[in-house]
Every structure is written in C-alpha cells, then in structure tokens.
Symmetry: C2
Subunit: 208 residues, 2 copies
DNA sequence: CGAAAGATTGAGGTGTATCAAGATCAGTGG
DNA sequence: CCACTGATCTTGATACACCTCAATCTTTCG
C-alpha cells in the first residue's frame, strides 16, 4: 500500500484530537490511509443509537465501508493529533485497473476488514465483560507491537466510554474490569497508561 | 452480478440441507453466488467458540471474507436444499481487470458486506434481546420482499439455535421473545412459520 | 414405531446495567 | 499561579434482564 504515491496524487491531512475526518452523510470521495495517530469510526442509527466500530492506526484504511455509496456511512474522528493520506477514490479505481497487484491489495484489504469485524462479533457474542476487556488489551498490545512500539507498555488513546462502546458494555464495567485485571496483577493501569505484567494471564482470561 | 456468465466459467453446485459449502481451513479458490436456498456462515475460534455471522440468500455472495487468504476463514452451511454458482477467484480477478463495472461491483459488494456487519454490530450492542428478535424478523421480511416473496408470511430456514447465535443471545431467549411478540399480536408463530400481523408494532419494538 | 433433534415454558441464579457519589485530571480565565 | 469548571474515571449499592438448569411437548427421520 505504501507504493501508492507513485501512481496517484496523495494529499496529507492533519486532524487535531476530536476533529472529524468525515461525518456520516458527507460526500464520499476518497479513502484515507492513516499515517500517524489514531482514529475511531462510529456507526450511527437514525434514532441516535451509536457504537464505535473500529480504532485505526498507522497503515490502516479508513472510509472503505462507504465504497459504492455517494455519502459516508459512518463518522471518523481523530482521538489524538493525527494525519492521514487522502486517496481520491476514482483515481484509486483507475490505478487498480492498470495494476493487478493494487487490485488484489484492495480486495484483500476489504476482505480483511470483514474478517476483523467478524472476529470481534464472535468475541462479543461469546465472551463476558472481563474477557472482552482482556482481549481488547491484547489486541491493542499487538497493534503497538506491529508498529514497532512496546507491547508491554502503552497509552490507550481512547476514553473508557469509547472502549465501552466498542466492547458493547458500559464504561463502569470497563473500569471495574481493568481494576480487577490489575488486582490479579495481569496489568497495571493508571488512567490511560497500561502496563502488561502477565501476558499469559491476560491471554488465559481472554479466551476462557 | 448476473451478467457474469458471459465473462467467466460458472459451475453450479447443489447442497442438501446441512451440507457444507466450505469449511474453515479448506483451500480458498472461488466466490459463491447463492442461486437458490439459504446458507449460513459460521465464525470459529480456536477454543471452540463459534457464532453464526450471516444468512445468505439468492443474489448474495458467500466466501468473500476469505479473499486474500489461502484457506477459508469460516464455515458455510446450507440450511435447506440450495444451489450456488461457483466463481473461480482468479478468473474473477482477470475479468475485473478488463471490466471496470465489474471491479466497481466487487468493491461495492465487499463494502456492503462491511456495512451490513456493522449495522448488526450496532444493533447487538444497543438493543435488548426482544428488540433484536424483532429487528431480525423485520430484516428477514425485507429479504423475502426483495426476492419477490411475501414480507407478511414466511418460513424461517434456520433453527432457534442459529438465530440465537446470530443475535448473541440464548435460544430459550429467542423462543420467549417470539412468544411475547405473538402475545402482543405483532406476529404469529408456529415453529418456523412466521406471520407479521402488525409491522408498525414490530418496527417500534425493534428501534426502542 | 422409537429415537433424536428442535422448540417451548418455568423457576431460580448471576452478571451487568443502573443510579449515585467521589476522586482525579485537563483546560480556562482571572 | 491558582481557582474554577467540566470531563473523565473509579467505586459502591441495588435492580433487573438474561442465563442456566430442567421438564415437557412436538416434529422429524431412520
């Protein structure tokens, strides 16, 4: 995905914490590749119900779910000062028509998105609150590691409320789960700073 | 999607009720367009946890989530005697490279899959058991209508257990919810046969 | 027909939501 | 710099929706 600049014009966009990358209903014109920082995407219902559906970091694509629509299907919001590369969708399509590897990459990225969502669906459907939180922490740790940071010590960029929404529980429950995981000495938490003390313990909690 | 036969070889495959279209771990070689009947897809975890992630009927694509992988990421099972058109994936890719409209269709289909999953995630995260069941019935009714059948009277092709798994509740809870919706005279149910008596009532239940 | 699978209904237990009160932190303006 | 304000987080007590366990009934299929 990183060799794209050679084939199409890429615009850098910076977003302050809390700023919208796009809102549901706005015209869909481009995909966004996260270059720095963290974003969340929020699914919205007509009646006001909403849920955080994903957290996106460097190398991940935002906005793909709106392909084929005129307007965006969800909100995307920066959780900290962040930056994306904007990839105009028509240009991407044109480039993909010329470059089989790019087409394969796009298909693969969309399919991976589906698999990721379904993994979370499975997890939310089959695990209780505390295991969900444990799995979430493991997942965040893995993401950190993939980006070259420590999987043992990291900062959660999202609020308890965001985590709660993502995990389909209440924020009080997230708080309690974190406190309990700390009591068990699997982690230490201070506000948004997390330290993983016992990875095996966490893993055990996340699958049982 | 129906003009595909002109551009690539399509194999018809029949499946008896309960038969696997593919299993997780089997080689991924083709997409499958449902031509008749109903299939379910099941996401599996290493430790045995599983969840029904989708029900697919005529015109819907099965297997897209495994694009980019060597092997299938989930199970797909026929719920009744059914038939698919098998679309060899390499051939699809080749055709898409020549036909921009096909490429756009594929992107759109994958994106639509993501949006559909996220709608269910939102629903499961924000609604209680009974509204989930009501929403599920409305959804099934809409699917029936789209295929030209009655949205007022239809047969559920899946068991209570399948519905329960899909909605992330227990099958007893599904049963009770259905009974209660019948008590309210929103529907009538006998086993898998459903009649919608009060669509507005159902809709109200599904969003509150 | 008999056996197994699926569906319904009841009674009781439990995990999480709800409601509420403090504590801690971040940002603002005096 | 500090007081002030609002947002975020933590913790407790209670309520209730759903799960669990169990029995019964119906349908399906060999």
């Amino acid at each position: 995905m990183e060799a794209l600049q050679a084939h199409l014009s890429v615009t850098r966009r910076k977003h302050a914490a809390g700023q919208y990358l796009f809102r549901a209903g706005q015209a869909f014109r481009a995909l966004h590749l996260v270059h720095a920082g963290t974003y969340k995407t929020c699914e919205l219902a007509d009646d006001g119900r909403e849920k955080v559906t994903a957290f996106k970091m460097r190398g991940e694509l935002v906005g793909a779910e709106s392909i084929g629509l005129d307007t965006h299907a969800c909100d995307a919001i920066a959780l900290e000062d962040s930056e994306t590369w904007e990839l105009p969708y028509p240009a991407v399509m044109k480039a993909a028509a010329q470059l089989p590897w790019l087409q394969a990459q796009i298909h693969a990225a969309l399919a991976a998105e589906i698999r990721c969502d379904r993994n979370w669906m499975l997890l939310l459907a089959t695990l209780a609150a505390e295991p969900r939180v444990a799995a979430f922490l493991m997942h965040m740790a893995a993401k950190q590691a993939r980006l070259g940071y420590s999987a043992r010590h990291f900062i959660l960029r999202m609020s308890r409320l965001d985590i709660a929404s993502f995990l389909a529980i209440k924020h009080e429950t997230v708080s309690r789960a974190l406190s309990h995981l700390a009591d068990l000495n699997y982690i230490s938490v201070q506000r948004r700073e997390v330290r993983v003390l016992d990875e095996d313990g966490l893993r055990g909690m996340a699958t049982a």
